[in-house]
Structures are given as structure tokens and as C-alpha cells.
């Protein structure tokens, strides 16, 4: 598994993807994916805004769901799907654009400024913990789901 899901230059396929022949297609799908992910995040943030002084449940959910999805995606990209633009589009683009570190930090800053340091701390630690758990659990579950199954061997003469 790559150490970095955006780009890991230790992996030959990742090193090759900025080749002049594929560079613009690559940056194009990352950009398009980023737009889709960011618009989905914007729609959710607009539909469920955070009331002042409260825990940011919308961005918390966005980030944790995005983390579960990257866990699933990276296992599938490694073991099932072979397309070269799947990881750049879905992982770097859509999920990178959907999840956000800046809003997470900005919301902590605003919660403290609003006079709710304990909510800020719960949000800080809660997101971190849930996000890591989501990546790990999603990876383990997907690895289990796509595990190679032992072939069924029929003994000679055995009826199928």
C-alpha cells in the first residue's frame, strides 16, 4: 500500500503519472474531482450550518465519511481496480476536495473565539480519533471483502 494516497513517489506508477503525455489529463481529472468534492461539501455546509458555539457536526461528518471512503478506495485501487486515473480522480480530487483541514482548524479557532474552548477541544480530538478509526476500519473491512477465496477443488468422480 502507498504511504501517501495523493502521490507517493516511491511507487513507479505514481512517478510516471506526470509524464508529458498524460500530465494534463491527470491535472484535469484532479481538478474536476476537487470541484465535485468541494461542491458536495458546500451543499452540506449550506444545508446544515453550524450554530454559533456548537460542535461542528457537518464538517465532522464530512471529514469522517471522507476518511472511510479513502480507506475503501485505496484498497480497491491496489487490489481490484486497474485504471490509472481512478486514484487521482476519486482520491486526490473528489475526497481531497470533499474533506477539509482548513475548515476544521478554522472552526476550532472560531469555537474558542466564541468562548467555547471545551467544545473546541472535543471537536479537535473527536474528529482526529473518528477519522483515524474510519480509515483503519474501512481498510480492514475492504481487505477482508476482497480477499482471494480458496478455489473449490472437486475430487475426481465427485458430483458437482
Amino acid at each position: 500500500m502507498p504511504m501517501n494516497c495523493d502521490v507517493d513517489l516511491a511507487i513507479p506508477a505514481h512517478r510516471a503519472e506526470m509524464h508529458p503525455s498524460s500530465r494534463w489529463a491527470l491535472l484535469g481529472v484532479i481538478s474536476a474531482g476537487g470541484v465535485l468534492g468541494a461542491l458536495a461539501r458546500y451543499a452540506l455546509e449550506t444545508a446544515f450550518p453550524r450554530p454559533a458555539g456548537t460542535f461542528g457536526w457537518t464538517v465532522f461528518t464530512i471529514n469522517v465519511v471522507g476518511c472511510a471512503l479513502i480507506g475503501i478506495l485505496m484498497v480497491l485501487v491496489q487490489r481490484v481496480w486497474r485504471g490509472q486515473l481512478i486514484r487521482p480522480f476519486l482520491g486526490v480530487g473528489v475526497l481531497g476536495g470533499f474533506t477539509t483541514f482548513s475548515t476544521y482548524i478554522g472552526d476550532i479557532q472560531v469555537m474558542i473565539a466564541e468562548g467555547h474552548p471545551r467544545t473546541a477541544l472535543a471537536y479537535l480530538a473527536g474528529t482526529l480519533f473518528a477519522a483515524l478509526l474510519a480509515v483503519w476500519a474501512a481498510m480492514e473491512l475492504t481487505i477482508w471483502l476482497v480477499r482471494p477465496r480458496a478455489p473449490v477443488i472437486h475430487a475426481p468422480g465427485q458430483r458437482r
Partner: protein
């Protein structure tokens, strides 16, 4: 509708910029430690802090805050890399990555906010 377009425009630039920055940093400093993601996340927190310090403007927040900073930064890659470090036995790197991201991110946000205050006056 205009706000949607501004979010899209910011994200169209932010997401590929994250990829290019990460690649450039890995090319110059090959390391197991995820410097690239740390860099874009802290930079995005700095810029968002600056925008939060300016007088509220929906268009600017959509373009730069939600679109550009939101797509430049990432929680999915940050978490994935941390989990991979733990799985690889580099628990110290994982802990340093978590701590540095949060501390530097919050520091950058406060700095950006203060800078905006100084600019606006």
C-alpha cells in the same frame, strides 16, 4: 448560483495545487514523513485564518475559504498517511504528524487572522 461557481473555481485550482506541491516536496525531500500534506494543510489554515480576519464577504469566503482552501487542504490524505505510518511501525512519525499538523495549523490560522487585522486596521 454565483457562490457555487466561486466554490468550483477555487476548488479547481486548490486540488491540483495540493497534488503538485506534494510531488514537488517529495522530489526535493524524499522522506517517509508526509511533509507535502503537512505543508498544504498548514498553508490552507493560514489563508483561511486571513480570510476569517477580514470583514465578512460571502463571495470571498466561497472562492478562497470553501473552494480554494477546502480543496488545497485534506483530512482524508492526512488521516490515511497517519494510519499507514502506524501500520508501518513508525508510531513516532504518526504522533509527530498529528501534533505538528494541529499545532502548526492552529498557529498559522491565528497568524493569518492577526495579519488580516493588521491589514484592515
Amino acid at each position: 448560483m454565483t457562490l457555487l461557481l466561486l466554490v468550483a473555481l477555487g476548488a479547481a485550482v486548490g486540488a491540483p495545487l495540493r497534488y503538485l506541491t506534494d510531488r514537488a516536496i517529495q522530489t526535493r525531500h524524499p522522506s517517509l514523513f508526509p511533509w507535502g500534506t503537512l505543508a498544504v494543510n498548514v498553508a490552507g489554515a493560514l489563508v483561511l485564518g486571513f480570510v476569517l480576519g477580514l470583514p465578512p464577504a460571502n463571495g470571498l469566503m466561497a472562492l478562497v475559504g470553501t473552494g480554494f482552501c477546502g480543496a488545497l487542504t485534506t483530512y482524508s490524505t492526512f488521516s490515511y498517511e497517519t494510519v499507514r505510518l502506524i501500520q508501518d511501525g513508525s508510531r513516532l512519525y504518526a504522533l509527530v504528524n498529528l501534533t505538528a499538523s494541529i499545532v502548526a495549523g492552529l498557529g498559522a490560522a491565528v497568524l493569518g487572522y492577526a495579519a488580516a487585522g493588521a491589514v484592515v486596521g
